[in-house]
């Protein structure tokens, strides 16, 4: 048996399982022990060891019989946003306290059908609204990385903060994430792992608690690019239960990883050179360009003129859709219901239930969404934002029409920041998503790849943005970048 099973990748574990060098049961036990020792990270918030052991046993039987899928026997963490049958699924919100779905999301169904093992549910920002995992009803998830010997607790990013922390700390082989404005890519960059947001419609949203339905997309958070390719194939595909899921064949993304990007055109958008951007981010971006050039790609300057309007557009559209989606939390069908005083009726029940059940950021966004959709403001805010969104998407279409294959940008404007930092202005926190949010508005695939460390020893990542439906090509570019960067650093264990 191998010495440390938690250091494997999905590809490595798959090969070892098939060769009979390790069993899914052994693999699962290693991770369950690692999770037990990592309470300080607060990444896993609901533990499902019985399910994991039963799934591992079934996986071992399947592997023994031969012909097991790639994900068979692979232990995963599942973001709390995914409905998992009989297992708490509460989007890190108090309003879904006690909710145990009677059904399974399409993504987890597909992963489990392929033999994957669920270790438990992962922490996140409440309803995926946040960039630091600080809005969770479970408390903060903590980044396994620290600044050298400084023991200040850092954010793993958000909203998929628990997923990021768990993968970086080797508590699972990979995790599911969701990304509405950067919630896979920003946390992946903050913890030095790979995070892929697929093209809108590549992965079914059915059974995933909805935040902003025109922007939400689930994707893999993994230790490297190959693992992202393997896991995406299992998650993706058409689903009759999600009318926006695309009826397109799902290719073998792993087969696209040739590492050959000679002749590919990589665009560098001038609008992503932000004022006040730390030199380390600028240098990282430069190095990334050189790496891709050395690999034979052509680096070209491009312009995406409406970039500066992406965040304000997002902060109209996402809250508007959220206010509509979150109307279902009314204390009637599931979750929390407030206690009523004598004489209080159904309106008080709604208002008290939602006041008690939602956290501050969720309330803020629901109310902003309500406002921009209200009579008299719908055209001025919501319709205008939808028009600007069309222009943002057109910026990308124009660039792709010029023959650009992928776009390289920084993933985040900084390394992971301190937890508990006082943020008086909500807009300040929103700036975290400045490089990622355009991708959701345009429905494109985007991937964050770790490529370096900052002076304090924290990971930094770059983002590649691809053409719609061409995740294979995008993953291949990311694979080339990953090989050139040779990022192998791991957080020193303190938990």
């Amino acid at each position: 048996m191998m010495t440390d099973l938690t250091k494997l990748t999905i590809a490595g574990a798959r090969d070892a399982l098939r060769k009979g060098e390790v069993t899914a049961a052994e693999l699962t036990q290693s991770y369950l022990s690692a999770i037990d020792e990592a309470g300080a990270l607060n990444a896993f918030v609901h533990h499902t060891p019985e399910i994991a052991e039963a799934q591992a046993k079934a996986a071992d039987a399947r592997i023994k019989a031969g012909d097991a899928p790639d994900m068979c026997g692979i232990p995963l963490g599942i973001k709390d946003l995914f409905c998992t049958k009989g297992v708490p699924s509460q989007a890190a919100s108090r309003i879904l306290d006690g909710f145990r779905p009677e059904y399974e999301s399409t993504v987890t169904t597909q992963l489990f059908d392929d033999g994957a093992v669920m270790l438990g549910k992962l922490n996140m920002d409440e309803f995926a609204m946040g960039s630091s995992n600080e809005t969770s009803t479970y408390g903060n998830a903590v980044n396994p990385w620290r600044r050298g010997n400084d023991d200040t607790a850092l954010t793993p990013g958000g909203s998929s903060g628990g997923s990021a922390a768990a993968v970086a700390a080797d508590l699972c082989l990979a995790a599911t994430g969701t990304d509405t404005g950067g919630s896979i890519r920003q946390p992946a960059a903050f913890v030095g792992i790979t995070g892929l947001k697929p093209t809108y419609g590549r992965v079914s949203r059915w059974g995933i608690v909805a935040f902003a339905s025109s922007l939400d997309q689930a994707g893999p958070m993994t230790k490297d690019v190959r693992d992202a390719a393997i896991m995406l194939r299992s998650m993706a595909g058409h689903d009759m239960k999600d009318s926006t899921s695309a009826d397109l064949p799902v290719p073998d993304f792993e087969a696209a990883l040739t590492g050959d990007i000679r002749g590919k055109k990589i665009g560098i958008p001038r609008e992503y050179r932000m004022e006040g951007m730390p030199d380390e981010i600028e240098a990282l971006w430069q190095q990334g360009q050189e790496m891709l050039r050395d690999a034979g790609a052509e680096i070209v300057d491009i312009t995406l003129p409406h970039t500066k309007y992406a965040l304000p557009t997002y902060y109209v559209i996402a809250p508007a859709e959220a206010s509509s989606n979150l109307a279902r939390y009314d204390g009637v069908r599931f979750g929390h219901r407030a206690k009523l005083a004598q004489g209080e009726g159904v309106t008080e029940m709604y208002e008290k239930t939602r006041a008690e059940g939602f956290g501050a950021e969720v309330k803020r966004r629901v109310m902003v969404g309500t406002y921009v959709l209200s009579a008299g403001f719908y055209d001025a805010y919501y319709n205008r934002a939808r028009k600007v969104r069309s222009l943002i998407k057109k910026d990308f279409e124009d660039v792709f029409a010029q023959g650009v294959d992928a776009i390289l940008t920084p993933a985040t404007p900084s390394a992971a920041f301190e937890l508990g930092k006082e943020v008086s202005d909500p807009v300040e926190m929103y700036l975290n998503d400045v490089f990622t949010v355009t991708v959701n508005l345009a429905g494109l695939p985007g991937i964050a790849v770790p490529t370096g460390l900052d002076r304090a020893g924290l990971p930094l990542g770059l983002q590649l943005i691809g053409r719609p439906w061409e995740e294979g090509d995008l993953l291949n570019c990311a694979y080339s970048l990953e090989r050139a960067a040779g990022f192998v650093a791991k957080p020193a264990r303190w938990w």
Binding site: G98, P101, E102, Y200, G201, S214, M240, S243, T244, A246, D247, Y309, L311, P312, Y315, V316, A327, D330, V332, R333, F334, G335, H336, L340, E344, G345, V346, T347, E348, E351, K352, R354, A355, K363, R364, V366, M367, V368, T370, Y371, V372, Y381, N383, R384, A385, R386, K387, V388, R389, S390, L391, K393, D425, P426, V427, Y430, L441, A442, G443, P468
Partner: protein
């Protein structure tokens, strides 16, 4: 566009979220910060631009209008805070 306490109260009610009277001024302040940020969309020339309906152009799938699921009353009610005799129960709504 500036949001006053009265507008904040109205929005909170529309959203069916109880906000205590003393918290309304701070809420109005937060709305103003966010709306101030959104205001810059006014600079963009959107003349003749269609508002986006669907980010990936596709015709939504249709299926035959037939029953494909059902008879799951117990499962539907399973998570209800208050379910009685096969129904969701709520405080009295009709006087």
């Amino acid at each position: 566009m500036s949001i006053d306490v009265e507008t904040a109260r109205k929005v909170a009610h529309l959203a069916r979220i109880r906000v205590e009277e003393e918290d309304l001024p701070a809420l109005a302040g937060e709305f103003n910060a966010i709306l101030g940020f959104i205001e810059q969309l006014g600079e963009v020339d959107v003349e003749g631009v269609e508002p986006m309906v669907s980010v990936t152009p596709m015709r939504l799938k249709r299926r035959d209008d037939v029953v494909t699921d059902g008879n799951q009353q117990a499962a539907v009610l399973k998570n209800a805070p208050d379910a009685r005799e096969g129904f969701f129960a709520v405080p009295k709504v009709v006087e």
